[in-house]
């Protein structure tokens, strides 16, 4: 079994992977310095420029208040990505903890935690997120936590399976014979061994979270207007579908591309770490 350790050792990415990586890099740049990529203000529009169709000056067109839609998408990256990131973090932290507990603390812990997970599976993730937002009020934090709870199931399942796989390898037993205790085995061998699959899953899940956050933002459970957020941007265009198709279609297509790109990247990472 060979494990790539640096970017130089990763297998050659295909064109789809390369394009996906490029898109994600662009997103990271937008997240860090949105002002560098657009000269327009995302909040204040120009009343002389309402409902302008896409053009070189406004690639995504302008909205009902004369704001540049691309500027709103670029500035909205922060809100959407941070909320989705919070969701992934919640899912990863709690899911990994539950998965670890079930796979290392003995049959009782396994039985109990896996039944909890089964119960969670029975609830649609989107509904769980809605419950949390409804109970704790709309806003990015409750939205992120709500979406994150939905992905605990995935992380817990994958962690458990990976830990069981790695634990059966001779080198973990060798570590025990070398005198390593529970935590030394866990942090020295088992978690690093399982990390490849978890990183890949986190990337894919980030895409799913972007979609969920946007969807809930669209429904009005996220950040209140006028703060730009992808779901909200799409929702605002809804009323003008007939005369300004670009207000919904272009940001919508963009969100779709991001989700697909993250999925492609996650698959690539998963394959690379397993090879």
């Amino acid at each position: 079994m060979r494990v790539p350790r640096g970017v130089g050792e990763l297998p050659l990415p295909g064109p789809a992977t390369a394009l996906s990586a490029l898109l994600v890099l662009v997103l990271v740049a937008w997240l860090a310095v949105p002002g560098l990529f657009t000269g327009y203000d995302p909040l204040v529009g120009d009343s002389a420029e309402v409902f302008l169709a896409p053009s070189v000056a406004h690639p995504f067109g302008t909205d009902h208040l004369g704001r540049d839609v691309l500027a709103r998408v670029i500035h909205g990256t922060t809100q959407t990505a941070l909320t989705a990131g919070l969701a992934v973090l919640v899912g990863l932290a709690l899911g990994t903890a539950i998965g670890l507990a079930s796979s290392t603390l003995g049959p009782w812990a396994d039985a109990i935690s896996m039944r909890v997970i089964d119960a969670l599976i029975a609830l649609p993730a989107f509904m769980v997120a809605l419950f949390v937002v409804a109970a704790y009020g709309a806003g990015p934090v409750s939205l992120g936590v709500g979406v994150g709870i939905g992905s605990i199931v995935l992380f817990a399942r994958v962690t458990r399976a990976e830990v069981l796989r790695v634990r059966a390898l001779d080198y973990v037993e060798a570590s025990k014979l070398a005198g390593a205790g529970y935590f030394r085995q866990l942090f020295g061998h088992i978690l690093p061994g399982a990390s490849g699959a978890l990183i890949a899953l986190a990337v894919v899940d980030f895409g799913a979270a972007v979609l969920a956050v946007s969807a809930l933002g669209y429904l009005g459970f996220g950040t209140p207007p006028p703060t730009p957020e992808w779901g909200l941007i799409i929702a605002e265009g809804r009323n003008y579908l007939a005369n300004a198709w670009w207000m919904t279609s272009l940001p919508g297509t963009f969100v779709l591309l991001v989700v697909v790109a993250l999925g492609v990247l996650g698959r690539y990472l998963g394959k690379a770490t397993r090879a």
């Binding site: 079994m1 060979r2 001779d170 005198g179 690093p192």
Partner: protein
């Protein structure tokens, strides 16, 4: 498809075949200008170490190469048909009819969801025979009986998981011969089986090949096996065909240096007499526990038993049943048996990884049968384990230095600042080249990885090392080098070994005392010399008889002439001083396999 079967066309012909694998961003040459042919009815062995390209040739000839492989140049003709660049759909008409394959792993080669009868009946469909039910059944039974499948009629309704590995391989042989292909490729057909089963299977295989007049390409890493069953041998080394000669010539007088080396290694393991008796007299200078007779043995096992509960209602099965033996300090005791005989369970009980049902384990006279918690650490400081497969025994993410230092760090031995020096000392002791300490297992060859595992097992100054099939995953030549290392470490550090193996030829080389297990019970134990020269039970006689290499020993190098001084490594006549560490130069030739 033109049927060009003529008696003149060889069954298989390779003309200057070169083949590359895509590996990440680079291309790796797996075969380099390989040419040979196999005549009709000829049985030819293809011999080489792992990574030499044997399996690649088998794959190219059967159209079963992975998609990363490309034939860069050359031509492959099967029974006169050019198969170099066939599409998958055309291959499917050739496979089975013109080329048959007997695979390495019988367990993975039968469809688990179909009965044996259904799978055998596929032959008739491929042959285009329309048969009635009764007729099909009769013919299937006949086919299985030819391959000496016991209770053939009952087998037809059974599923693969209900059969043993040996039976599955017989069925696969029956299927392969049933199609009567011009060429049969047998890819390590018995390496997953026990010696006694291997012998029976190959007897059936030999007879069928003779009766059908089939041409056979017999792929194996085991030269002894090759010389026993083939008339001609092709020797591969790193993708190049280095030798192509009649077996009789090779056995008597191999002209190619590499072949000579292989023969010498194989013969050495076959012919070496056990070190047992000689050891006590000649090995006095080794500085190991002088009063072996009075001191408690390094490891002792008394009446060790382990039962596993049967399924609901069924009786418990005894995996290990009343096993007793002792390992004196500085000596090697071999635990021998076929798969399922309880060897590994015994080892795991000694290491406290499995609880014994009853019996006693003593290390240096101290009872450790039920030690718990901290005391287990004390046990593991004394008794260590080397695994069969060095690939899975070393964490691929860790450096060699960190791997070998793990016991030191986890047990708190040596101050942190001195650990690296201690690790380097251990790596030197196992003759790993300079700089290995900062490498990762993926950068090392199989033999080097096993050396790292051995270094780790010695790290806590352990006095007993359990070698659980520690040589089985290695090539013949690598095996021989690691074996010499193990012997040298024993002389140097006075370690005792419990050497668990199914391979009697390595046991013969290494062990002072042999314990033969069968179905969990000790059938015979005694000094290695007694066991190998005067076995008392039929089972042990049968085991000994099943060791391949009869023809090799019948050659000029008579065993009695090379053997008397069993303590010097008989394969290294140029290095009579066996105390000398194998030099660093010998190590890289173990060759990393280009996987």
């Amino acid at each position: 498809m033109p049927d060009t079967t003529t008696s003149a066309a060889p069954a298989l012909q390779l003309d200057g075949v070169s083949l590359d694998y895509r590996l990440g961003r680079q291309r790796v040459r797996a075969l380099d200008d390989v040419s040979f042919s196999i005549g009709q009815g000829e049985i030819v062995a293809l011999v080489g170490e792992s990574g030499s390209g044997k399996t690649t040739i088998a794959g190219a000839v059967t159209g079963l190469l992975p998609r990363t492989a490309t034939i860069a140049s050359g031509r492959i003709l099967v029974d006169g048909t050019d198969v170099t660049r066939l599409t998958e759909s055309r291959w499917s008409r050739i496979r089975g009819r013109k080329v048959g394959l007997i695979p390495q792993d019988p367990g993975a080669s039968l469809t688990p969801v179909l009965t044996i009868g259904d799978q055998v009946a596929e032959i008739f469909a491929i042959r285009g025979e329309r048969l009635g039910r009764a007729e099909r059944r009769a013919k299937a039974i006949e086919l299985l009986e030819v391959a000496e499948v016991s209770r053939a009629a009952d087998r037809l309704t059974q599923y693969p998981h209900e059969l043993s590995g040996g039976l599955k391989q017989r069925i696969l042989i029956a299927i392969a011969f049933g199609l009567n292909p011009a060429l049969l490729v047998a890819d390590e057909p018995t390496s997953a089986l026990d010696v006694t089963v291997q012998k029976q299977i190959l007897r059936v295989f030999d007879r069928l090949a003779r009766e059908h007049g089939s041409s056979v390409l017999f792929v194996t890493h085991d030269l002894a096996l090759a010389t026993d069953h083939a008339s001609r041998a092709l020797v591969l080394q790193r993708g190049r065909l280095v030798d192509d000669a009649q077996v009789s010539e090779i056995v008597d007088d191999a002209r190619v240096g590499y072949t000579r080396e292989l023969i010498a290694h194989a013969r050495a393991t076959q012919s070496a007499l056990p070190p047992a008796d000689a050891a006590d007299e000649t090995d006095a200078g080794a500085g190991t526990a002088p009063g072996t007779g009075t001191a408690p043995p390094a490891l002792e096992v008394r009446g060790l038993t382990r039962s596993f509960a049967g399924r609901r209602g069924a009786d418990a099965t005894l995996a290990v049943d009343d096993v007793s033996f002792a390992v004196p300090a500085g000596r090697t005791v071999a635990l021998v048996g076929e798969s399922g005989s309880g060897k590994s369970t015994t080892a795991r009980m000694i290491l406290r990884l499995v609880d014994p049902t009853s019996g006693e384990v003593r290390v240096g006279g101290r009872d450790v049968t039920a030690v718990q918690g901290r005391d287990r650490l004390t046990l593991w400081r004394t008794v260590q384990l080397v695994y069969q497969n060095p690939d899975s025994a070393l964490d691929p993410r860790w450096t060699v230095g960190r791997i070998v230092a793990e016991p030191l760090a986890a047990m708190g031995l040596y101050p942190a600042g001195e650990r690296r020096a201690r690790v380097q000392e251990l790596l030197d002791a196992v003759a790993l080249p300079e700089g290995t300490i900062d490498k990762r297992p993926g950068e090392l060859s199989g033999g080097q990885r096993q050396r790292v595992a051995i270094a780790r097992s010695l790290a806590p100054n352990s006095s007993v090392v359990v070698l659980d099939e520690a040589l089985s995953a290695l090539d013949v030549i690598t095996q021989e080098r690691v074996l010499q290392l193990i012997e040298r470490l024993q002389r140097q550090f006075g370690v005792s070994y419990l050497f668990i193996s199914h391979d009697l030829s390595t046991v013969r080389r290494l062990a002072h005392h042999v314990v033969v297990l069968r179905a969990g019970r000790v059938v015979e134990q005694g000094s290695a010399r007694e066991i190998f020269t005067a076995p008392r039970t039929d089972y042990v006689r049968e085991l000994l008889d099943a060791i391949p290499g009869h023809r090799l020993l019948a050659g000029t190098g008579s065993p009695t002439r090379t053997a008397p001084n069993a303590q010097t490594a008989p394969t290294a006549p140029t290095a009579p001083n066996a105390q000398t560490a194998p030099t660093a130069q010998t190590v890289p030739t173990e060759g990393a396999s280009p996987r």
